[in-house]
């Protein structure tokens, strides 16, 4: 039998009852385990070189282009299509039917026929039809104010205003990035073993990173001159995300567990370190100062979220100052405990950053190639006990109180847009999506006290409880699989789920537009293709322009 390598020492993991609350998930920050970071690290490690074999873009910025990059022994190509879009049709919502630009990540380098097909189908998005050679489908709209400003400045012979770049952060916003078989593209199962894109959402992140390059090239093409590389590096790619992202976290409990488990294990390893050597201390100082500058750059119109940012700006110096005297990382972690959840989670992200040797290998544990592998419960006593042990948070909700069933999640027939309704005011609750995990587990527990003791007889008599039963089994083996809040209650803010997922993608500068959708910036400060061989390639946590 092969010996497993020794694992680094670690403290106890933070408990799910703390980590999996909505408000804390909604305070997440990107870390060095975020998927975009993992991708750019991999690209840099391989010395990947991006080429642009096709550039058929006219003087108005319309046409198509192809970007190719080798990764893990395969070549992937982004096909980008740019079209004119009337202002009246520019919307970030799923219900959109036209976009400024459309994209497909293609497996290989497309020949003329494939390119013609993709130029025809990509702008159709959900109405198009794709093949197993097409890995990711996406689209993006211009940030009109910044895109035009940058082009105008370049045409006028000078660089764009850095303050405007700071304020927006991107030239275009993606409004959907589809993977895993949607509209005929390749199932994830077909590519999940490929080196370099085996991680969660790695193909989607590669797409996003290449789209960012296209947006840079497009403004330089239209402006007739090159952007200053420091400004260019600070131009990420925006993303506008709505409710569709939230159900994913609920419908993929093992995957959610694996993301959180990797991050929490990384934290536990860092917290177990007995000391803080001079190099790591200096690095923490540098990163804390960068985080402070990043917080100053982060401005949003929403008053409530801006207040959170300002509170964090006030708290952060306490952490930054504590670095000088902290005897070990645990002292910094403890120093954050009395502060806000935002400050605590930012401290977690900070603590992981200087320790690639303890953290980066955990990225390999963040996918879910197998799903739930568990022997089913043998009897009702085991099931009852598992609920009582792991779902106290669900059992304590009073669902007789109307406010605890205030909302319902549903899919509209209008382009299948995911939406949230008010149960006591709107029609459609009978068609709600099953995100009411707490209510379902509570109902299961209640019926267990009334039903047959034989589990098979109980399941036959109560087929409606199968989903809840499976959630309980999953949580028994995967402690971070459940968001431990009532997702149909009046206090549930979907924006918290969106932020959690987006932070794992690597997004920052969260800019909530309501409690149901947000804009974010992805890949700001990320390496440009020409940076991949430089130290910049993996040093872009909470980036600041020019840093």
């Amino acid at each position: 039998m092969k010996d497993l390598p020794p694992q680094p020492p670690q403290t106890a993991l933070r408990p799910p009852a703390q980590v999996m609350r909505l408000s804390r998930l909604g305070a997440a920050f990107p870390t060095r385990l975020s998927f975009l970071r993992c991708l750019t690290r991999r690209l840099a490690d391989e010395g990947a070189q991006v080429t642009r074999p096709v550039w058929q873009i006219d003087a108005r910025g319309y046409g198509h282009a192809v970007y190719s990059v080798p990764l893990g022994g395969h070549v992937y190509s982004l096909v980008a299509v740019s079209n004119a879009l009337p202002d009246a049709l520019r919307t970030d919502r799923v219900i959109a039917t036209a976009w400024d630009t459309a994209y497909v990540l293609y497996d290989g380098v497309p020949d003329a026929d494939a390119l013609a097909r993709l130029c025809r189908e990509a702008p159709l998005q959900e109405a198009g039809r794709f093949t197993e050679r097409d890995l990711v489908l996406s689209r993006a709209n211009k940030s009109v104010r910044l895109f035009n400003h940058v082009v105008d400045c370049l045409r006028a012979g000078h660089q764009p205003d850095a303050a405007q770049i700071d304020a927006v952060g991107y030239l275009m916003r993606t409004t959907a990035v589809y993977g895993n078989g949607k509209f005929g593209i390749a199932d994830r199962g077909l590519i999940e073993d490929r080196p370099g894109i085996e991680g969660p959402f790695a193909a989607e992140m590669l797409t996003v990173w290449l789209i960012r390059s296209f947006t840079h090239d497009l403004v330089e093409h239209l402006g007739g001159r090159a952007l200053d590389p420091r400004l260019k590096r600070h131009l990420g790619i925006g993303n506008s995300t709505g409710l569709g992202m939230a159900p994913f976290l609920v419908s993929h409990p093992v995957l959610l567990n694996n993301w959180i488990m990797a991050r929490e294990t990384a934290l536990a390893r860092v917290r177990a370190l007995p000391g803080l050597d001079a190099d790591k201390r200096a690095r923490l100082h540098t990163l804390a100062a960068r985080a402070a500058a990043h917080l100053q750059e982060w401005q949003v119109p929403d008053p409530a979220h801006q207040a959170r940012i300002e509170a964090l700006r006030t708290e952060w110096p306490q952490i930054a100052r504590a670095i000088a005297d902290a005897p070990h990382p645990e002292a910094l972690f403890t120093r954050a405990a009395p502060l806000s959840e935002d400050a605590q989670e930012l401290t977690v992200a900070l603590l992981l950053e200087p320790y690639p040797e303890l953290v980066d290998g955990l990225a390999a544990c963040m996918s879910d190639p197998l799903g739930l592998c568990a022997v089913p419960f043998a009897n009702t006593a085991d099931l009852r006990s598992a609920i009582d042990r792991g779902f106290g948070w669900a059992l304590e909700v009073d669902f007789d109180c109307p406010s605890q069933q205030h909302q319902f999640w549903y899919v509209s027939e209008e382009k299948l847009e995911p939406r949230l309704g008010l149960r006591h005011q709107e029609a459609g609750a009978e068609l709600e999506s099953p995100l009411d995990i707490a209510r379902r587990v509570q109902a299961l527990r209640r019926d267990l006290d009334r039903g047959p003791n034989d589990l098979r007889a109980f399941r036959t008599a109560h087929p409606q409880h199968e989903l809840a039963l499976r959630r309980v089994l999953t949580a028994t083996h995967h402690p971070y699989s459940e968001i431990q809040d009532n997702l149909i209650g009046h206090t549930c803010l979907p924006i918290d789920m969106l932020r959690c997922k987006l932070a794992f993608f690597g997004a920052a500068k969260f800019d909530p537009k309501s409690d149901r959708w947000t804009r974010v910036t992805l890949a700001q400060g990320a390496p440009l293709p020409e940076d991949l061989g430089t130290p910049l390639a993996d040093d872009w946590w909470l980036p600041v322009r020019g840093a």
């Binding site: 202002d87 970030d92 005929g184 199932d187 199962g189 506008s240 509209s412 989903l467 309501s514």
Partner: protein, 173 residues
């Protein structure tokens, strides 16, 4: 026409919910349909399973598969269980969803006896079914699944459009 496995799984899952089956069983049915059709098996079994939400392999086969999994975990050897009449058509697809490597899996038909599902599995080796890159689905089956799935969508309304997604209609900033 051919589709990705995920398209078929999602459509069949929604169709099962639309036909009146609970969400948990619908999830497994969706996965099983992709395996079933991906193996080139008869599409009629898919529609037949959706006929009666009170009496269907969609309700029975998940229970049977848990019986198989428990037996495999306990004995580590081959297992043979009697199938309910009519459940044999989808039984192999459900068995392929078991999270362990199947060394052998077959439906045994004997004269005058109920069919049995015979499984030899390696409980120490986790597994997930490999699916083909494209799955052929007859147009009639696809249309029927689509009709059932459409029952799960909430009708569009102006109020829902304005408030349901929490976003405006135009983004020209």
């Amino acid at each position: 026409m051919s589709y990705s496995a995920n398209e078929i799984s999602a459509l069949a899952r929604k169709a099962a919910v639309g036909a009146g089956f609970p969400h948990g069983q619908a999830d497994q049915f969706g996965q099983a349909v992709a395996v079933h059709l991906g193996a080139g098996r008869a599409p009629e079994a898919v529609l037949a399973a959706l006929d009666d939400p009170e009496d269907s392999p969609i309700l029975r086969l998940p229970l049977l598969m848990d019986d198989v999994l428990r037996a495999v975990a306990l004995t580590g050897s081959d297992v043979s269980l009697t199938l309910h009449p009519g459940d044999d058509a989808l039984a192999l697809a459900y068995a392929r969803l078991l999270p362990v490597r199947l060394v052998e899996c077959r439906v045994e038909q004997r004269d005058g006896a109920q069919p049995r599902l015979a499984v030899l599995a390696d409980p120490e080796t986790p597994s997930r079914p490999a699916l083909p890159p494209r799955i052929a689905v007859p147009d009639a089956l696809h249309a029927r699944l689509g009709t059932l799935a459409a029952r799960t969508y909430v009708p569009a309304s102006a109020g829902s459009r304005q408030a349901g997604a929490g976003a405006g209609d135009i983004d020209n900033d």
